[in-house]
């Protein structure tokens, strides 16, 4: 009977419980909660605000967070953005992509295969120890040599050609040695090769290196909650002027609408990958703005040269004439893109300013298809979905234009990115779809890092083979004179334009939302450096 009593539920008791629940929800919705240190520092339930005591705190929200905090053990931009607040390389880039000194205050080409980096004096790690040339050499070797630093770095290919780095006797300098002429080495070091403290790395297990931070950058780690947030505070002993931002929090929301909601509600300061349809909502809110900048990523449709109908130069050119690229950029991408005419993007070393974008000329396209002997061809465009800005919509527009030709039939095949990427990366051209949409980011601002992997006969991701093109790229790779090298790369780009191994599509823009309380300009290389943020 005692059980019966306990299980008895009176109507009054019910109403009391329901009333309590409603009251709790109501209080929760209205009350503020002071004096609570939450992981996001937003215990008051919204608004990153200025934090405690006039502190200037900033939050950056990406689509996803890091895959660990080891700067040499990843290849994702999202992880890069988390780590670039704390780690630096020997060289760096300004907002426009120009190479600038960083931990190396100068560099010189000692001979064809050796680049000497002069290491800056007076730089401290967050641990308080001074930066030494040994740290610089160790960091480069940790990337290129599997036996150094307990890591087989996935970034080895990013420092292509580098065999080792050695400390120069009697000088505060490091020699970076390549296996041959390496004309892009400076460019590579400006984008890759974060410097870590040798003794710090050697004294730690892999999981510690992945959850702690000890760089020389403007922010030091305050708190790391894997998958939730990374919180940095200003490093007062930074070798340049201390940052204007006192605390920076990086977190993630996979859904773009969630990120935009956070921005317009004042819960974050910068959000990435704002879809075009959300631009109006941000701009109309009054407390935030949209910032867009051309990125280093090109979107294109590759056509395999070894299969019909794409083996025909005329057919490939016809596909370029068939699409109205300007309309795609305007209507599909809401002008958050630039039309391209060649594999290399404007502003990169080797970009050819004399090539024109293929005009929209369906008559010429139809004529070229007839001339190619492939009239009546059926083609299928493989595209990932959701990997790039409006990728499926771009593919559908391309196919729509091609279908307007009376002598070609085209369809879209929507693909899981992982499966498509698997086919593209086997190293064998036979495994690739005949016709596919893909994007390529090149943070080095040098044409070679696009042309070599994507278009030379031996390129890892190539869909094309052309002797003249291969020769030009090979010559440029062996050329030490910068001007002569640039001319060779320009010629290669002209050949690519004329031979049309791709349908040249668009340069993707990085579209951000930024809160109205911060001063910040986005960069072309997709970096987000809190050091460049200041209060408005």
């Amino acid at each position: 009977m005692a059980d019966d009593r306990q299980s008895r539920i009176s109507r009054r008791r019910y109403l009391s419980l329901v009333g309590s629940a409603a009251a709790a929800a109501s209080v929760a919705g209205c009350a503020g909660g002071d004096e609570i240190q939450t992981p996001s520092g937003d215990g008051n339930g919204g608004g990153n605000g200025s934090g405690n005591g006039g502190e200037f705190a900033v939050t950056i929200t990406q689509g996803q967070l890091d895959s660990g905090l080891d700067p040499h053990d990843h290849r994702e931009t999202t992880t890069d953005i988390v780590l670039m607040q704390a780690y630096e390389g020997t060289l760096d880039r300004d907002a426009e992509g120009k190479v600038v000194p960083s931990l190396a205050e100068e560099y010189e080409q000692v001979d064809d295969t050796t680049l000497r980096l002069f290491v800056r004096d007076g730089v401290k790690f967050h641990s308080g120890d001074e930066l030494t040339p040994e740290d610089v050499a160790f960091s480069i070797n940790r990337i290129v040599n599997n036996d150094v630093g307990g890591l087989a770095s996935p970034q080895k290919d990013q420092l292509a050609g580098v065999t080792e780095a050695t400390v120069v006797d009697g000088e505060r300098a490091v020699d970076v040695v390549s296996d041959g002429v390496n004309p892009v080495l400076v460019s590579l070091l400006a984008s890759y090769g974060d410097v870590m403290q040798k003794s710090w790395v050697e004294g730690r297990q892999k999981n510690q290196i992945n959850s702690e931070v000890n760089g020389t950058g403007p922010f030091k780690l305050e708190r790391y909650t894997e998958d939730e947030e990374v919180v940095y505070t200003k490093f007062e002993e930074y070798w340049r002027d201390p940052a204007a931002v006192d605390r920076v929090t990086l977190n993630a929301a996979a859904e773009s609408s969630t990120r935009v909601n956070q921005l317009v509600s004042g819960e974050t300061d910068i959000v990435v990958n704002v879809p075009p349809q959300e631009v109006g909502r941000i701009n109309n809110q009054g407390n935030a703005r949209v910032e867009a900048v051309p990125s280093t990523r090109i979107i294109y449709n590759a056509m395999r040269y070894d299969v019909e109908p794409f083996s025909s130069r005329e057919f490939r050119r016809a596909m370029n004439y068939a699409i109205d690229l300007e309309t795609i950029v305007k209507e599909v991408l809401s002008d958050f893109a630039d039309a391209t005419s060649q594999p290399t993007l404007e502003g990169f070393v080797g970009y050819n300013p004399d090539t024109d974008i293929y005009p929209y000329d369906p008559d010429e396209a139809e004529r070229l298809v007839e001339e190619s002997g492939h009239a009546g061809a059926s083609i299928e465009l493989h595209t990932p979905v959701g990997r790039y800005l409006k990728d499926l919509e771009i593919a559908q527009a391309v196919v729509g234009y091609i279908n307007e030709l009376p002598n070609v039939d085209a369809t879209v095949n929507q693909r899981d990115f992982g499966t498509l990427a698997g086919e593209l990366t086997t190293g064998s051209i036979e495994d690739k779809p005949h016709f596919y949409l893909i994007g390529w980011g090149n943070e080095t601002f040098d044409a070679s890092q696009t042309l070599i992997p994507l278009l030379t006969s031996e390129g890892v991701l190539t869909s094309w083979s052309n002797e003249e093109f291969d020769d030009l790229v090979a010559q440029s790779n062996a050329e030490t004179d910068e001007n002569a090298r640039e001319q060779l790369l320009r010629q290669a780009n002209q050949v690519a334009h004329d031979e049309a191994p791709w349908i040249f599509l668009n340069r993707q823009y990085s579209v951000y939302g930024a809160s109205g309380r911060i001063e910040w300009t986005p960069r072309r290389d997709e970096s987000i450096k809190a050091y460049s943020i200041s209060p408005k």
Binding site: A31, I36, T38, G45, A152, D157, N210, E226, G418
Partner: protein, 328 residues
């Protein structure tokens, strides 16, 4: 059979269920398109780099070797390491689990607190306005996709009226209790602010379902002869309804409750995505997208275990609610 023996027996059965889950999930990785190396290595990685990564992860070993290696690790409590981050899968999963359990439990509690009274009122005032209101609510709740509801709640209550944060989880319930123990109740308030909208979003369908179940169960029970007998004996109507009719109605409700709680732990994916809630659901989806099999397997084992545990608890609860139920 005693309760202890019953739980032990079900737990042993549960071990086999989990083993089945482990085996099926392990085999699925070999028929699912998309090689994990594709996601780990950069697009332009050389074949040598790909082979090296495969060797490091043990993916170049024969299938049966990988399977038995994995089982041996599981027995030692080791779920392996994430392919992507290199961190311990179990650490990642158990760091996420409290957020998901918290959300599922709060959503369930809110649902129970609302739905049972609604169902009772609806049944006892059949064909009256209260009944129509309750049935309309339950129909709307069942018909409303929770991703839409979540987005609308955020747009209206967070963006427009600034009553709740739009997303994320500021602190856990245990942390909030820690603050309370120090005499600071604000932790609980902050916790409640963050969990309210996700819990409503997740719990609405459940509320509607239980309301309908309670209503139909109550109507069924109230029409039975034992209820007429209790009324004829002169028992107060409240006792008739709540002690007798409702108690019998709760048996199927508890069954659904258990199943739903289990599914909420594994199935809060959409709600977690809309609210950037750092739970198990989003971890599963991210892991599937990245073909991070140690994490996928670990998550599914934890979710499967949750189902087993909740169902054992539900079975045990039957006897408490209905003494006629015997364990066998």
């Amino acid at each position: 059979m005693s309760l202890g023996r019953f739980i032990l027996k079900r737990a042993l059965q549960g071990v086999f269920v989990i083993w089945g889950v482990v085996t099926v999930v392990f085999l699925l990785r070999f028929v699912t398109p998309g090689d994990p190396i594709t996601f780990i290595a950069p697009l332009d990685a050389s074949p040598a780099l790909r082979q090296r990564i495969a060797a490091e992860l043990g993916l170049n070993k024969p299938l049966y070797v990988q399977y038995f290696d994995y089982l041996a690790e599981l027995v030692r409590g080791d779920m392996g390491y994430s392919y992507i981050s290199g961190t311990e899968a179990s650490a990642r999963i158990f760091a996420r689990l409290p957020a998901t359990v918290e959300l599922a439990v709060v959503a369930t509690l809110v649902a129970v607190a609302l739905s049972i009274p609604l169902g009772v009122v609806s049944a006892t005032r059949r064909h009256e306005p209260a009944d129509y209101a309750a049935t309309t609510f339950s129909l709307a709740g069942i018909s409303t996709p929770n991703f839409w509801l979540g987005i609308m709640l955020v747009l209206v209550l967070s963006v427009q009226f600034d009553l709740f944060p739009t997303s994320r989880r500021a602190l856990g319930f245990v942390d909030a209790l820690g603050y309370l123990a120090q005499g600071n109740p604000n932790g609980l308030i902050v916790w409640a602010k963050y969990i309210t909208l996700p819990a409503i979003t997740l719990g609405t369908y459940f509320t509607a379902l239980i309301t309908r179940l309670t209503r139909s169960g109550m109507l069924d029970e109230l029409g039975k002869s034992y209820v007429r007998a209790t009324r004829a004996k002169g028992l107060p109507e409240s006792l008739v309804r709540y002690k007798h009719a409702l108690r019998n109605t709760l048996i199927p409700v508890i069954t659904v409750l258990g199943l739903q709680l289990g599914s909420l732990i594994g199935g809060a994916v959409i709600t977690e995505a809309v609210f950037a809630w750092p739970g198990l659901g989003t971890l599963v989806i991210n892991s599937i997208n990245a073909r991070d099999w140690p994490l996928i397997q670990g998550c599914l084992i934890v979710i499967g275990t949750s189902f087993v545990v909740v169902n054992i608890a539900v079975d045990a609860l039957y006897a408490y609610v209905n003494p006629r139920v015997v364990y066998d």
